[in-house]
Symmetry: C2
Subunit: 377 residues, 2 copies
């Protein structure tokens, strides 16, 4: 998979047994194949710039397909996993557009989402059946098409005696709330808002491109939260909206950050980063409190994604959730960098077994649906 940060392709080779709630898995290999600077810029240009042509979109689709195929081949070679031992590829693709709220088009009101990375190219180059386009079906069924990982959180992390909140901090942060013995139909999960997106963009802009992110949150840890800015930032109506809801790079992306930074001109970079870290920490913890079942006490907050390496963010989460153990997903056996890639391997298995993979209470879809398209080998 490749996420909203457009860094490269994360590959997880996973031995999956069973399906649905009896799914068991073992990670065989994990690798990340970064996009070259030119490729990253090329892809980003289509996300941000308005003018393109059908020719370019068609070529981009095949181009990203070759990158995904190459990434699978490369990681398998690196870990000496013969391609012939793979039964199935699950490819999330690169999201180039995601608009869950219907807007007018051709006289109809339509939501839509589009992931590129032609699965036929992946299947042809690897010789392995490929499941792709996971999000479109949920949108077609009236859902937001995101987040999809909560179903996998449920499969892998539900606990008979512990109330667990599962947090992923990528560009966007999202939580899955899994009270003990919660049936899948009652799962609550949603994007809480910005994860690393504001932080990374601010670090990059303030350092004039020298830093791509604030390693371990070290810079932020030296700063002080500007409470005036913080209050302003927490006003965004997104945070109060009831789930199901999903946030996009349009909402909290580079343009949003530029606007923020103009308002924070007089603050030091450390203070800016401390304040933006506090935004992520507060919006996560406030959201968990706001949308939890009443009086429920969370035993654990299990964090994955790049944000789990941000020690300062982790300490802020701990401080804001007294009585809850904050831990990295590594500690429960799920590589913190690879959770999403692992999730799409498991979702591909669900599709292959003809099981629905969305959670209507999470996406707002009218019903559970089988996700994705299968490209035969």
């Amino acid at each position: 998979m490749s996420g909203t940060s457009v860094d490269g392709v994360d590959v997880a080779v996973v031995d999956v047994r069973g399906s649905g709630i009896s799914t068991r898995f073992r990670v065989v290999a994990l690798g990340s194949v970064p996009y070259s600077m030119a490729t990253r810029q090329l892809i980003l240009s289509y996300l941000n710039v308005r003018n393109t042509s059908v020719a370019e979109i068609s070529q981009l689709n095949f181009f990203i397909g070759t990158l995904f195929a190459d990434a699978v081949v490369k990681v398998c070679r690196q870990f000496q996993v013969p391609l012939s031992t793979l039964d199935l590829i699950g490819s999330h693709g690169q999201t180039i557009y995601h608009q869950a709220i219907p807007s007018k088009f051709g006289g109809r009101r339509l939501a839509s989402t589009m992931q590129l990375g032609e699965a036929a190219v992946i299947a042809e180059r690897t010789g392995i059946p490929t499941v792709s386009d996971f999000r479109v079906r949920d949108v077609a069924a009236g859902g937001t098409g995101a987040p999809l990982v909560p179903y996998v959180d449920y499969l892998l992390l539900r606990h008979p005696r512990k109330n667990r909140a599962v947090l992923n901090v990528g560009g966007i942060a999202n939580v899955t709330l899994i009270p003990r013995q919660c049936p899948v139909e009652r799962l609550i999960a949603f994007d809480t808002g910005p994860g690393n997106m504001l932080l990374d963009a601010a670090a990059s802009i303030r350092s004039r491109g020298t830093l791509r992110f604030d390693q371990d949150g070290a810079l932020a840890a030296r700063g002080r939260v500007n409470s005036h800015s913080l209050r302003q930032l927490l006003i965004d109506p997104y945070y109060k909206k009831r789930p199901p809801k999903a946030a996009g790079r349009e909402q909290f992306g580079i343009e949003y950050t530029r606007r923020l930074l103009r308002r924070m001109k007089t603050m030091s970079t450390a203070d800016v980063l401390a304040t933006l870290t506090e935004v992520t920490a507060r919006t996560v913890t406030l959201a968990i409190r706001r949308f939890s079942p009443p009086r429920l006490k969370w035993d654990e907050l299990i964090v994955s994604g790049g944000g789990a390496r941000n020690l300062f963010l982790m300490s802020r989460l701990e401080a804001l959730m007294p009585g809850t153990r904050v831990l990295s997903s590594n500690e429960v056996g799920i590589d913190l960098d690879a959770k999403e890639a692992i999730a799409f391997a498991i979702l591909a298995n669900e599709t292959w077994q003809h099981h629905p993979g969305n959670v209507p209470s999470v996406t707002g879809a009218q019903r559970p649906v089988i996700l994705g398209k299968i490209t035969p080998a």
Copy 2:
């Protein structure tokens, strides 16, 4: 399916038994759901205009998906075929880009093709598993991605004792050459060049939009071929190129026609149409002669597509192929308007049965591949 002329959605409900060379079929219902003028213009604007955005392409994909789903539902209702009796939908989609010759993109040389009409929308709205994206896999395997119908021509029209040439005259014209007892690996098929595309565009431009086409070829029949123009038109290097080859609307589309008409300013509309009909008739018959096995004599030329209704074109084909019986595909049990729609029903069945559906000798692909993607119900 919807073809390069972007007229609307052709729906064929087909009872298919068996698979591969033992395929048998019976047409249950045929219908055509025309695009509204606004929809047609909307779709055409993306094909012709260079500037668009990823947002619009994503919305267009879902939009066309709803049109295809609605067309299936409408035709089934009209013919009282309960949706629940359908096992499978094969959806060609609307081609918005097709470039079989690799060009440079992101530092790689890539061919690509893109059909829109989100299959997840079709599967969700109908509750029927949907096979879509037939062309991408052939392109991924190094082929031109077109034509794909020749495989179906072979399945349905090969004859133990007759040499048959099968011609479809849609916007573009293509032939499939099936000598008696020809093995599928030796099939020759290709686009011969313009079919109705130049004729329709010229009729429309010359009548200032009053005519969309020259009914039965009646206008052309009253004209005289301008031999100077004809010679000029037959010079196009496409015609001499050896197959595999495919022509696109880019090549013989509205812009090409406008250029032609400027050169034919002084000619009457009837003479223009007669000359352009002669272009189609000559390029078809010359191509059949040029690329046939040596000394082979064609017993039958079986014509489908709108061109089969053009009596003047049919008479010209007859005159140019003495000794060959020229007949409409209706006469061999295949509705001349619905051959392509029927073909994609049969190709969907091949995919469903895990049979390859391309013919490498036709598309230039490196090997036979299973076409398309399967969206579960």
